[in-house]
């Protein structure tokens, strides 16, 4: 176990635990303002998109928008499978198998 990771996990644990704990323990009945609730409801979709798009369109810090970008190409049917099946396991399995086949057929 690397010490740096343990420190990282401790930090992550703290910022995860506090929002879970503070309202229950400290406040009698808080009403979060509506704007904040709305803002928070968009955070997951925004962070997922912010992670995903660079990971499929960039290589080594540069844009890689070409047909030979396997990640970009395989992403397209994976989106469809996710939308049709609404299943995490099926989507990930499909993505992995399709990527595997792609690498077999188009090596390099």
């Amino acid at each position: 176990m690397r010490l740096t990771l343990l420190l990282l996990y401790t930090g992550m644990a703290l910022v995860t635990y506090l929002p879970r704990m503070l309202p229950l323990v400290l406040l009698s009945r808080i009403g979060l303002p509506l704007w904040l609730r709305r803002w928070l409801s968009y955070v997951p979709v925004a962070v997922l998109a912010a992670l995903l798009l660079p990971s499929i369109t960039m290589v080594d810090g540069r844009l890689f928008l070409v047909p030979s970008n396997k990640f970009l190409i395989v992403s397209l049917p994976t989106f469809l499978v996710a939308a049709r099946t609404r299943s995490l396991v099926l989507t990930v399995s499909f993505g992995i198998i399709t990527m595997f086949l792609f690498k077999v057929w188009f090596p390099g």
Binding site: R2, T4, L5, L6, L7, L8, Y9, G11, M12, V15, T16, Y17, P19, R20, M21, L24, V25, L27, S28, R29, I30, L32, R38, W39, L40, Y42, V43, P44, V45, A46, V47, L48, A49, A50, L51, L52, L53, P54, S55, I56, T57, M58, G61, R62, F71, V74, S75, T78, F79, A82, R86, S87, L88, T91, V92, G95, I96, F100, F102, K103
Partner: protein, 223 residues
């Protein structure tokens, strides 16, 4: 401690456990794939216990992000639990602060969903929630460890397409988050902003900045 309510909580956790097993397993495989050891992958599940944040953290680690970026992103992603914690309060305010401090560790999207439905039918709210949360927590840890162990069996995972597991996971989670057209707009904006900022800025600040932009635009659009 009310044993019957605890058992009621354990039983109510079954659908959560069925959901956690494949996701925890996938997390373990991916965490192993980006170079975490089995204990390292499992320790994150023990300490952090937050599915989507753990996937995002593995993505950030794989991208070489620093600890501050990862912690700040984790904070943003898990901030939504504030709402759930607050929403559970009316049914739990008779419990001691100490017990609440323990129970609140187990608030996840899934345990919250079950608790908000089933808590009023429980004879003893504290024991019920303890059974529910503990069962879910243990299943998350066990499936993470199992996935990481499974990942160890295949050293060269990229050849088998496993390097696409993380993007595929993000695609699925992203699609599940889309509730109406506005969420598409937020996703596309945040994605483009993230790529643009990644081209301009060093480090991984593009992810947090793009998230702030996307969520703010979504909120403003709702007005």
């Amino acid at each position: 401690m009310d044993t019957r309510s605890f058992a009621h909580g354990v039983k109510s956790a079954v659908p959560i456990v069925l959901g956690y097993i494949p996701i925890g397993f996938a997390y373990g495989v991916i965490a192993r794939g980006i170079g975490l050891t089995v204990p390292e992958a499992t320790a994150m599940s023990i300490l952090v216990y937050a599915g989507s944040a753990q996937f995002i953290a593995t993505g950030l680690l794989a991208a070489g992000a620093g600890p501050m970026t990862i912690i700040a992103t984790t904070f943003l992603v898990n901030l939504r639990h504030l709402l759930m914690s607050a929403a559970l309060l009316p049914g739990l305010r008779h419990l001691s602060p100490k017990l609440l401090a323990v129970l609140s560790f187990g608030i996840t999207d899934e345990s919250f969903a079950v608790a908000s439905l089933e808590l009023e039918n429980a004879r003893n709210a504290g024991s019920f929630l303890l059974g529910l949360n503990l069962t879910s927590y243990v299943s998350w840890i066990a499936s993470s460890a199992g996935g990481a162990w499974f990942g160890s069996l295949f050293p060269d995972t990229d050849r088998f397409g496993l390097d696409f597991a993380l993007p595929a996971m993000f695609i699925a989670l992203l699609i599940f988050q889309i509730r109406e057209h506005r969420y598409w707009v937020v996703a596309i904006l945040a994605g483009i902003a993230s790529v643009g900022l990644a081209l301009l800025l060093p480090g991984n600040w593009n992810i947090i900045l793009a998230t702030l932009v996307g969520a703010t635009v979504g909120m403003v659009m709702e007005r």
